[in-house]
Amino acid sequence: MGEATLYGLCGAALVGLGLFGLIVHPQPLRKILAFNLIGGGVFLLFGAIARRGAAAGFGGDPVPQALVITGIVVAFSATALAVALLLRLFQETGQATLHLDG
């Protein structure tokens, strides 16, 4: 088992952990955090697959590595929009919950 497989397994575990957080945490901010953990796990899977594809003198397959960079930026945009929505909601209602009547 090389380090690619090791971190691939780590990514698999992270996806499950994040998914659990996303389901059980009622607070939106914790859901956003959990979403970022899943993202980390998915990107690690990309990284593991890139590392497995090391060839032609490159330490890893550059295509999945580049996709991760794109993915990280997209995940950040998502987080920024979600946080802004949440803060605005808090400003409007004094609460930060997804329950309409809460």
Partner: protein, 315 residues
Amino acid sequence: MTDRPLALDIGLAFLVLGVAVWTIAARDTFAAVVGFVAFGLLLTLVWARLAAPDVAPTEAAIGSGVTGGLLLGASTRLHGTQTPAPGEKPGAILRLAAAALCTVVSAGLAAIVLLLPEPAPTLAPQAATNISATGLGNPVTAVLMAYRAIDTLLETVVLLLALVGVWSLAPDRVWGGFPGPRHHADPDGLLPFMAQLLVPVGLLVGIYIFWVGSVAPGGEFQGATILAAMWVLAMMAGLVDAPAVSRRWLRLLLVAGPAVFFAIGLAGFAMAGAFLAYPEAYAKLLIVTIEVPVTLSIATMLALLVAGPPERALR
């Protein structure tokens, strides 16, 4: 790929998982966010171990740094609301079911990781044989700016739309105004002093990281993040105010990157017979011409995404 992982790797993997568990399990949201920042920094080390020197700084700067800062700020502002109401907390059965489901997902993914074919399929040789046509030395930059340039182009638009979305949350009476609260420089404080010292250094580093991206690890996203961080620091220290969102120069700065990208892409029809194709002799020059405004635009978008929607009216 049959070599054993180092003890370092095993330790690092467990550390990553441990911090992730903390992030999910911590009772206090602020603590969870701190855990997440640590998680991002550890992932940076993982990327270095996975021979992805281009991803590592992106993770550190954006995945951990800017995202972490954003979440820390949010958790401070939401302080006191982060204990779930009695009716909101999921019951034990739901939690057990969720745990079971997530274990199945993780186990399935782990099995697939172990089942992946040998030898691994890879595009590295193709990326290597074609890189001379791009004039670049860094294969990851070649993917981002040539082979899959359309992804990068649309990604800058994604960032821009996220910013429009954030701006759309402003109350109508402050539309066109300034994002976030105004920070005033504290004359006795260390922060303005540090900002004055650090911002020039940071700008230099950001430009360097961007510039070196064509031949070595680095590139526009990493460079832009550092530039954005310097701007945010200057805003927080009160050295400069955030720009009003109705300023024409700001709007121009924001769209300059994607606009130049589109323009050179369309010029590709005439120059090289296809959208986003570069004639070999000028490939590097054209790519750099795209990267400069893209870096500036991304830096502006990142800084303004952190600054948030307009909160103060123009007058």
